[in-house]
Symmetry: D2
Subunit: 358 residues, 4 copies
């Protein structure tokens, strides 16, 4: 690919916005040309508007870029979004109406029937739902979403089990990193030497998104996976990396080896050459005390999920632990991989009807 | 009570041993007169042998006390023990044979058929098992144990549910404090900015001890609770206080209010005036983001367990969070409360046959 | 004392306000009868207005008390204040004008020439400055302040050295707890696995307050200690307890023993029976790796300062480490001790001229 | 360079040993062909002998490599060492006698008069001292050392100040990461919610090594910098990255700009193309609250030191904060850079006399 496609970032100063900037620096296909944030930041150079919290330097080019107002007028045709649900509910449709491909990490439209909620390794076929969105015919624009950061690891680990053995009941208890709450997010007085056994709305999102992601596209809508699901969400003093204890009841019996094989052989994107797709999306670790967030969150450049501790469960069938990097695989990296998938499907090309945007 | 009963401590330099010393200072019934530890410490003043890790000063009197060898010869008749299982397996029977009441936090004999595993509020009647121990008839000595620190909170929270509604399935995921591993215990490199999803043997202990504690004394042995149980244990960067996410299937349906009432009305030791028994062993918190270890571990002087977040479970019936102080309620305080219970049952008095020890 | 004096709290919902409530519960002389906070909280029951962050339960009586608007009309004659400097600058004089003894932890007036900045063990005589305040003659009201939380430990440790040996140069590097920044205060993303080598305005406050506190009352004003002082302030991942590395140049040589003796014999309030005055305000620890915040912050109920590691300094004369509980000794407890001192000096009694408030 | 030079690692299972392995993977000049550790590990595959604690995967090739006994017989000619001082004192001379270039992170010989203690950007000329070592003439072997991890940042930041302005007094207070203590190292009970104001022998090492590193090679020995130096060392709950508060008295006055320029222009290795030499060894940050370990430790791939907060000091002249990655720049990376420097000086080539080893 000679010229890179220009992309914009909505919500560029937030934690996930910062990750977009970090991860897109040197991306072979996309180049950030437009960054937008709230009115408070708009008009300032990004380096001044944002309090950069990542451990790689803020790229000079971006530091000097002026933050645009969050309006579609000057936005490029591809927009990565990560904004509060309440604001997203108004703003993302405006961008879609203006002809943008809104590839979003926001939660506002994840459960909307005509909006794909997608993890490319799991349900790329759901992307066809964009054709159900009215804006698609009008301006060519549409909304695609990725999941909540906590559900990402479990869904990737469960997908090969669903395919091979069937999954009927799922029990998930999360231990989530503070970066998931953004910045300033969790107060240090709340988390040093502490666990907070509650994250607003998180259990509801985990339960419903998991079933939609593992569901089947049935004509014009997704039929969620027919499984019973229970999530308990906790915050722990970890910077990055969500750990989830999982237990499942299978439809057909499986041995430990069969499950490990299912993970090892799960390479649904093999051969597609998407830059952010890890070679091995689900990495099994035989070490007895792993996965651990500090040691495993960066596997596959933060895009691989690690599973370990597979053992029989006294209530359901099998239990194990899943670890994923919540702001890479679980957020910014997920959006970028969705964009790459859309690109490879030809959905980031101008559509015939899309004369609205030159 | 005019004169206090002399008590000894086996394993006095460890984390739980230190808690015995801290909690027994000013105890109205017991006075520490003998402290023993490994050969390495024996013969030294305690203040030199132990690296005191608690946030109250080491009592002067104890600091100067010489650490005795771990032999029953000079030990008082009541001995609080907290030593490694492998050593306890040899040593605790020796003390019992010598006529001591060995009231132990060690795990070695918890599952032995003729050794009571007791939480006074839950199964004080199991203490009758001491009469099944051969040493009891010979020297008067016996072994009584309290549970693993992690299972303590769940068992106290479950007991009133078992009594009123029946409990058939139990799902527990723990987030455990580092003090549970003793000192030096968990390396800081392993736990800063991290979660460790494995604690050796802990899940097995939790599962089997829970069922024995909630079981019924049936003639000469305990019939464990007939329930399915699954435990997943994790270490988190917290100093003190184990948090456990629980989910249960009940035999008879119960409303939220009925469960909260069951906890509120659970006061099985009311009127017995045991110094370490909290007025309210299970405290319900209506706050949406509690219990939390830093804020709730010291309720009831560390002897009360806090429950919160009761809500329906998508897989079983109800889920909630339990918090208990692992080195107080879950270890040293548990042993002391067992001793108080034995005292009030007259089991710390000399028995007729016990001529072996003057 | 039969009847307790009614006291009010300005800024009752903040971290220090919460400590006032915690520490005044069961105070033998004072009783909280009035709590005020910002407009947002005013009119609500305290239990609803405040997010209680302390590890003892919020007293029931206070939980139900209605938060008053921050106006002097209905306030009792003694008001403990801990509010933002900008607001304090307007509000504290209003209360003083209305006849209140404003005993404040706020920083607004600490350096005002006619406002005493006092630690009772160090410079109680500075309290005479209240007579220089115009409101004192008009309504009887006045303002008294205590120091910044970080300077408290160093000043208490330095006072006996200043008295016996003279101190000419002081070097202080702090490692401060997050509770010093209030709630929500420091973001967890900023402090987990991290150190922040900057706290706004803290070094300036430390330097100027230290010299005023150790200065002499010279007629109508304080002549600051004539010493060179340099402070470097850092935030570390600790909940409570400020640790300060200190190095000093003395006027007259002193041996290690003489310095330790100076600390041991420093009991300036002995015999005064102030409830919050610790028997030993500066406790020396001979342990090589102490003081430590987790282990030493609660000495003397959080009102004693711990010093350790006294050793020669290669640049100045001696260096050592000081630890104090920043929200007890360094804030709420300091205000309460100031109130007790004023009480014992008869400055909380009605003055002749003070007809303004019945 | 076509063929890589084979190198060995002494102490391969420790924290620094693991960093050698991590950092040498893909090194353009060196290839690890031999790894040795204590008798306990010897004979096992490395993957079994070591508990890998780094957040990148252990290279497969190394995992399978058998750990050799710590004997020079089969060792390659270049050996990177990081072992306990007591063991190093015996073992490193044995390897040097056998003709090895022992490039060591151990502390045993840092202060030996004929052993160079070197940071290539600071005092590469001290490497000439190897010619003073008897083994050099006999077998060609010698010992070269790098500094203690804590002193590394300060020395790099001070070097350009020494050169341009002269430095007469130095005050350093460290806040050190736990990885500096190795594994298991610091107990989590000692550091969670805590600061430990003591690290055995660290202050002494910092003081003497700093002066040797900044000293001048005078004939056959180093004349240490003639400055007064005082170090206070503290451990804080940080995984990697030592933060040091520094204050200095200069010989000749310097403005803030002159000091910042001195750092910016400090590029003593420019043009030498050493793979591990950072382009900018001392990076100045103008951000008011930086450097911070979590955000700045990885600058220059962990080999650059960050300085910030330059401001006047009330006791000496200037104060500032220095941050360096303690196990990269401060340990394994330092050894590797020393090896690269020796390589570029031709000191890793066989010497004429060195017939001892083919």
């Amino acid at each position: 690919m000679k010229t890179k496609l220009p992309v914009g970032i909505l919500g560029a100063t937030g934690m996930v916005g910062q990750r977009y900037i970090q991860l897109l620096e040197n991306h072979p296909w996309f180049e950030v040309t437009w960054i937008a944030a709230s009115d408070r930041s708009s008009g300032k150079p990004y380096g001044e508007a944002a309090k950069w919290r990542l451990d790689t330097p803020l790229p000079e080019r971006i530091a000097k870029m002026t933050v645009s107002p969050a309006e579609p007028d000057a936005a490029p045709k591809i927009v990565f979004a990560s904004i509060d649900a309440a604001i997203a509910r108004e703003m993302e449709p405006k961008f879609a109406a203006a002809g943008c491909a809104v590839i979003s990490n926001s939660s506002a439209f994840r459960m909307a029937p005509n909006v794909p909620l997608v993890i490319p390794e799991v349900n790329a076929d759901h992307l066809r739902l964009i054709e159900e969105q009215p804006t698609r015919k009008q301006s060519g624009g549409y909304i695609v979403t990725n999941s909540n950061c906590t559900v990402m690891g479990p869904v990737l680990a469960l997908k090969p089990m669903v395919d091979r053995f069937g999954v009927e009941q799922i029990f998930a208890t999360s231990m989530q990193a503070v970066s998931g709450a953004g910045y300033p997010g969790v107060a240090s007085m709340d988390i040093l030497d502490n666990v907070v056994p509650y994250i607003g709305n998180e259990e509801e999102k985990m339960e419903e998104e998991l079933l939609k992601l593992l569901g089947n596209l049935d004509g014009h809508a997704v039929k969620p996976l027919a499984a019973r699901m229970s999530a308990s969400c906790n915050r722990v003093p970890v910077v990055d990396g969500h750990t989830v204890s999982l237990s499942v009841k299978l439809t057909r019996p499986a041995t430990r080896e069969e499950i490990i094989d299912a993970w090892a052989e799960f390479r649904p994107l093999a051969g597609q050459d998407l830059p952010f797709a890890p070679a091995q999306p689900v990495e099994w670790t035989p070490l007895v005390d792993r996965p651990q967030p500090r040691l495993d969150r960066n596997r596959g450049n933060g895009m691989a999920v690690t599973v370990g501790r597979l053992r029989p469960c006294g209530v359901l069938d099998w239990k194990f632990t899943v670890l994923s990097h919540n702001t890479v695989r679980g957020a910014a990296g997920a959006t970028i991989l969705n964009a790459e998938m859309l690109m490879s499907l030809g959905k980031l090309e101008p559509v015939a009807a899309a004369g609205a945007r030159a």
